[in-house]
């Protein structure tokens, strides 16, 4: 396809696109050319301008400069509706269904035909969707798949997928990739934004690489192109530091008599049943689970956001009852939610966001010691290397920097235990590395971290132990040495460790699906 594509005229051709937010240039000179029938990867580090470019192409925001040709005709896409008419449809990182409406009403709202939608939903691996379900009650991963199905149902010429697989468990992600691949084969085009090289090499024909708001290269996806893309993305600063292997000395620290947190028979409604485990000082315990297996409820219960319906949580040997997150915070337990928009006051500054927990208690409502606060906040900003160019409003930061702010808050507050729920979702490789390093450092300083991740390869980089949850139950706990990706994948599907049957999720997409998908 790539060879014949050379002669075709592009479906979409954008050149010289620029966008400023006040003094900050989000895009300076971006170009993107997509041929019919191709899956085109759009790549770049955090804040390189990928999301901005997609928003401009689909009419969500207006460019300050640049030219956009669709099928050779200059088009001025002034609104998402105009983008739709031009045949461009996005699926953004955040779910776009209106939470208070049921799925059917959401479809009507956008004039999406129902039957094709249903067919796509089934195709994408969700067998039991009730169109009368209110969007609010549907898990995040499924919502994203519904967004995709909704876009596919109107048969757009160019489909733009922004981190489509980022929050998806492996089983759904696999289906999504398969469907996206077939879009390309059908003569339509897909613009695919992702940080996962595995997906890009399996899926895409070409890649456009952005750096600091500029297109720095367009490459054909051939084996071994990853190095080149990384080089382009990072420019001169090539970073390939793996997290240092944990030294024996570091490991020796973590052998205290009493666990920091002891969870016994924890139960939350029907979602979580009889979960028991310990979290020790100085360790990072990984939680591995497919989407919606009860990990959300586990974290919420530990954070004091919801009340468990049974079981106990002991903190430093004392039984704890959390009625409000403040109770957990007082016990030194901080929660970093997976969804950044849940944790940040978007219109406020970086500083105010980081300092937010300081003002929470009634006795801290008085005058703020600005100097002390600034020092603490700057310390945290420095430690996480937050890009503070647009610090006046957190919403102007890139996703990765926003995520750093949510973590920096608890570094500044010096929390003893941090519950990190998928902190690396949809952020670039460099920032991910920094977060891994930070979590290891925290453990090195005697803190404890509970770390849920939807990317299995992260487990070995960060964790000491792995806790596997499946169907609301804790099915296995094992040391990280045994936690290679196949082992984790098997465990996440609830298969016993040590059995030899081949799961074949990553190896062969068309292999028979395990029966126990949620």
């Amino acid at each position: 396809m790539t060879t014949s594509a050379q002669q075709q005229s592009p479906l979409l051709d954008a050149t010289g696109v620029a966008k400023n937010y006040g003094a900050v240039a989000a895009l300076r000179n971006a170009s993107l050319s997509v041929l019919p029938g191709e899956v085109h990867a759009l790549m770049g580090a955090n804040g390189a301008g990928k999301s901005t470019l997609v928003k401009i192409l689909t009419g969500a925001i207006q460019a300050n400069a640049g030219r956009i040709l669709i099928r050779g005709e200059a088009r001025d896409i002034r609104s998402p509706a105009a983008g739709r008419r031009a045949g461009l449809l996005p699926v953004y990182q955040e779910p776009s269904l209106i939470p208070d409406l049921d799925v059917l009403s959401n479809l009507r709202l956008t004039g999406t035909p129902v039957e094709p939608f249903r067919a796509w939903v089934r195709e994408l691996g969700i067998a039991d969707l009730d169109l009368r379900d209110t969007a609010r009650d549907i898990p995040l991963a499924v919502l994203r798949v519904l967004d995709l199905a909704r876009a596919l149902a109107v048969e757009p010429d160019v489909l733009l997928l922004d981190e489509m697989t980022a929050a998806l468990p492996a089983n759904l992600a696999e289906k999504v990739l398969e469907v996206v691949r077939r879009q390309g084969d059908a003569g339509r085009a897909v613009i695919f934004i992702s940080h996962r090289f595995v997906e890009i090499s399996a899926l895409c024909d070409r890649a456009t690489v952005l750096r600091d708001g500029e297109t720095v290269g367009v490459v054909d996806i051939v084996p071994g192109v990853e190095e080149k893309i990384v080089e382009l993305m990072l420019g001169t600063r090539i970073v390939k530091t793996h997290v240092a292997a944990r030294s024996a000395a570091e490991k020796a620290v973590s052998a205290p008599a009493r666990p920091r947190i002891a969870v016994k028979d924890l139960r939350v409604g029907t979602k979580l049943n009889d979960v028991s485990f310990d979290l020790r000082d100085g360790e990072v315990a990984g939680v591995v689970a497919l989407e919606g297996q009860g990990q959300d409820e586990l974290f919420a219960a530990l954070a004091g956001s919801i009340r468990p319906s049974g079981g106990t949580i002991e903190v430093d040997g004392n039984q704890a009852k959390f009625a409000h997150p403040i109770d957990a915070i007082r016990a030194g337990i901080a929660y970093v939610p997976g969804d950044r928009s849940e944790a940040l006051a978007m219109q406020r500054s970086v500083r105010e966001n980081i300092a937010l927990p300081f003002s929470a208690a009634l006795r801290n409502w008085g005058p703020i010691n600005m100097r002390k606060e600034r020092d603490t906040v700057l310390g945290a900003i420095k430690r996480l290397q937050i890009d503070t160019r647009a610090q006046g409003e957190v919403q102007r930061l890139s996703g990765g920097n926003q995520q750093k702010v949510t973590i920096a808050r608890w570094i500044a507050a010096d929390a003893r235990t941090i519950l990190c729920f998928d902190p690396t979702r949809g952020i670039d490789v460099g920032t991910k590395q920094e977060i891994y390093k930070l979590l290891r450092e925290l453990a090195g300083h005697g803190k404890s971290v509970l770390f849920y991740t939807s990317e299995l390869e992260e487990v070995q980089r960060v964790c000491d132990r792995v806790i596997v949850i499946f169907g609301g139950r804790l099915v296995d706990i094992f040391p990280v040495e045994e936690a290679d990706e196949p082992a984790l994948m098997r465990a996440a599907y609830g298969l016993p460790r040590g059995a030899k049957a081949d799961v074949g999720i990553l190896a062969a997409p068309n292999a028979s699906e395990p029966g126990a998908t949620p």
């Binding site: 937010y21 006040g22 003094a23 900050v24 954070a303 956001s305 409000h324 997150p325 403040i326 915070i329 007082r330 929660y335 939610p337 928009s341 849940e342 944790a343 940040l344 006051a345 978007m346 219109q347 406020r348 105010e352 300092a355 937010l356 927990p357 300081f358 003002s359 929470a360 208690a361 009634l362 801290n364 409502w365 008085g366 005058p367 703020i368 600005m370 160019r389 808050r409």
Partner: protein, 330 residues
């Protein structure tokens, strides 16, 4: 980021950006323009006495608009301020007849604290929408006041001298007549500005209005913030009532009621978002001044009352829309 890194931009855009960075500038310009128009229409009207008078009338509005600013920062609104101000004024004027001033003051502030507490608990604990909650307590308060009025009909009312001095008096300082109300207003305004910018409570107001869920995860207890906020708002409204009765000098059952919607308008014109999380008190003060000058302007135009209101409404809409366009152009 330094401006030197940016290629030269057209003059118009530069002005826009300048104004977006300093949202007070366009408001002050508007205020000056209004005063100039007034001076052109009625040469000589803008003198020392007029300025003192304008300030006197702007202050009660500005304090009530402060209540709206603070509640609006959390995404709320306080429609009970008019009733609360009226109640405290009316109770003060009737109780002073045969009570010690201090006792009369405490009695006058009681309904303010009570209504603020009920508002706060209703909004913060039972999650009633602030609009409904404060409208409800406002109606209840008005009803109670009517009942109360019958019990004091025999004893009559009078305006305490101190309040008349504070509300209407001026003190000449270096040849300029300063309204005494500034003695109350300047420290109060400074306190509100300081609270919003430099205290934990102020931070929480912004943060709660921006993202309540995020504040909860940071350990903020919503009901505490909201209860404290609505009590503060009500107490400020009560104090405004006392000041206002000193200015108007005629206690009635709807004394401060006409100030309620202008107080919301002043906060909105001043750049406080009604959806929460954005705004400040300095803008609100200028907003209150703008509305006061505008009222004078429309009065001297000698239009029928109806036309005046229509024009007032149109100008408020226009100013707010234009201002938001300027400030949010980033």
């Amino acid at each position: 980021m330094s401006t030197s890194a940016i290629t030269p931009v057209p003059f118009g855009r530069r002005i826009k950006r300048f104004m977006a960075d300093r949202p007070l500038v366009p408001l002050i310009i508007l205020l000056v323009i209004l005063v100039v128009i007034l001076q052109i229409l009625r040469p000589g009207i803008v003198n020392e006495r007029w300025i003192a008078n304008t300030i006197k009338f702007a202050i009660p509005l500005a304090i009530l608009a402060g209540c709206q600013t603070m509640t609006m920062l959390t995404g709320g609104i306080d429609l009970s301020v008019g009733t609360v101000a009226t109640m405290s004024a009316f109770i003060m004027a009737t109780q002073i007849v045969n009570q010690d001033p201090a006792i009369a003051f405490l009695l006058a502030m009681m309904p303010a604290v009570l209504i603020g507490l009920v508002n706060g608990i209703g909004v913060g604990v039972f999650r009633v929408h602030p609009l409904i909650m404060t409208l409800g307590t406002s109606l209840i308060g008005t009803g109670c006041l009517q009942v109360y009025q019958r019990t004091v009909i025999a004893s009559g009312a009078k305006i305490p001298d101190f309040l008349a001095w504070l509300g209407t008096g001026v003190t000449p300082i270096v040849g300029f007549a300063f309204p005494n109300a500034l003695l109350l207003f300047v420290p109060l305004a400074a306190l509100i500005v300081f609270t919003l910018a430099r205290t934990g409570f102020g931070r929480l107001l912004y943060a709660v209005g921006d993202n309540e869920r995020a504040t909860r995860l940071s350990g903020v207890q919503y009901w505490q913030v909201i209860t404290a906020l609505y009590v503060t708002s009500s107490v400020l409204a009560g104090i405004t009532g006392l000041l206002y009765i000193g200015l108007i000098k005629a206690p009635s059952l709807s004394l401060a009621e006409p100030l309620v919607l202008p107080s919301v308008a002043a906060a909105v014109i001043g750049g406080t978002s009604i959806f929460g999380g954005r705004g400040g008190y300095t803008g609100t003060i200028i907003g209150a001044l703008i509305l006061t000058v505008l009222t004078t302007l429309l009065t001297i135009l000698q239009m029928p009352e109806g036309a005046r209101r229509i024009l007032f409404g149109l100008i408020v809409l226009f100013v707010t829309a234009a201002y938001l366009r300027i400030v949010e152009e980033r």
